[in-house]
């Protein structure tokens, strides 16, 4: 199925947000996630289902002022 990750379309076979991150090469990266505009804590990624057309944001520490 197709999902939108950080604004770009990706095809994944994942059932959960955690599986999607693994398929998208995030593995052990320090990231925070949101699904369809709502924050999903790391501990809930494994039990958070994803569906066709979902929008996922994957953020990491960056420079800031």
């Amino acid at each position: 199925m197709w999902v939108r990750v950080n604004g770009a379309e990706h095809e994944v076979t994942a059932a959960t947000l955690a599986e999607a991150l693994e398929q998208l090469d995030y593995d052990d990266a320090l990231v925070a996630t949101a699904l369809n505009g709502c924050f999903v804590p790391a501990r809930r990624r494994g039990t958070t289902p994803i569906a066709e057309g979902d929008s996922i944001e994957v953020l990491a520490p960056k420079q800031g002022g």
Partner: protein
Amino acid sequence: MNLYSVEVNSRLLLGTSQYPSPAILGNAVKASGADVVTVSLRRESGKSRSGQDFWALIQSLGVRVLPNTAGCHSVKEAVTTAEMAREIFGTNWIKLEVIGEADTLQPDVFGLVEAARRLSVDGFEVFPYTTEDLVVAERLIEAGCRVLMPWGAPIGTGKGLNNIFGLRALRAHFPNVPLVIDAGIGLPSHAAAAMELGYDAVLLNTAVAKAGDPVAMAAAFAKAIEAGRSAFIAGPMEPRDMAAPSTPVIGKAQFG
């Protein structure tokens, strides 16, 4: 200086953006003596993972981080970003920005108060990027903020303190709330002026990052802020309109 029950030695809070290189950023932070640096959250690619290297650099500096919600234009965006930042950075501190106008980057103070209220209820310790407006400041305190961060001038302009009168009034109105000038500082003299007004600290980024020599400029700001603070504590003289001789008049010789 005490910020949300944390003792912070340096009164300079430094941003981490726009430096020529990670090495220069690291050296600038060290030269500034800052205990607190600001950071943000941005999209990460699973392949490039640029954020991971940045985070490793910041951790190696041994400083406390103040995550921001830069670029957020709505309460929902800001609150969601804050929630994500708390998980990643492991701190309740959040520099809350809710931007209301794209050209001036001035805060949407209505959204700011609402976001501050929601975040404070949720256990965040909010550092609101606000204007020098007294009534907004009152609302932010009511919303749970225990630090206020009024702008000196719009972000990135380097124009210094645009409204000295307003900033002085804010200081007088909130003698016991830590006040941090956030944004608009361009020169060490601007930072010194803020400290001479009795402000507790200065948060800046572009003035150091975009200097010809950011490391040297970071050191210059540290000195200016220390000097300004010392001057405030020493008690500056009152300015007056008419000249007053500093050399005694009595005892002056009469020639002719």
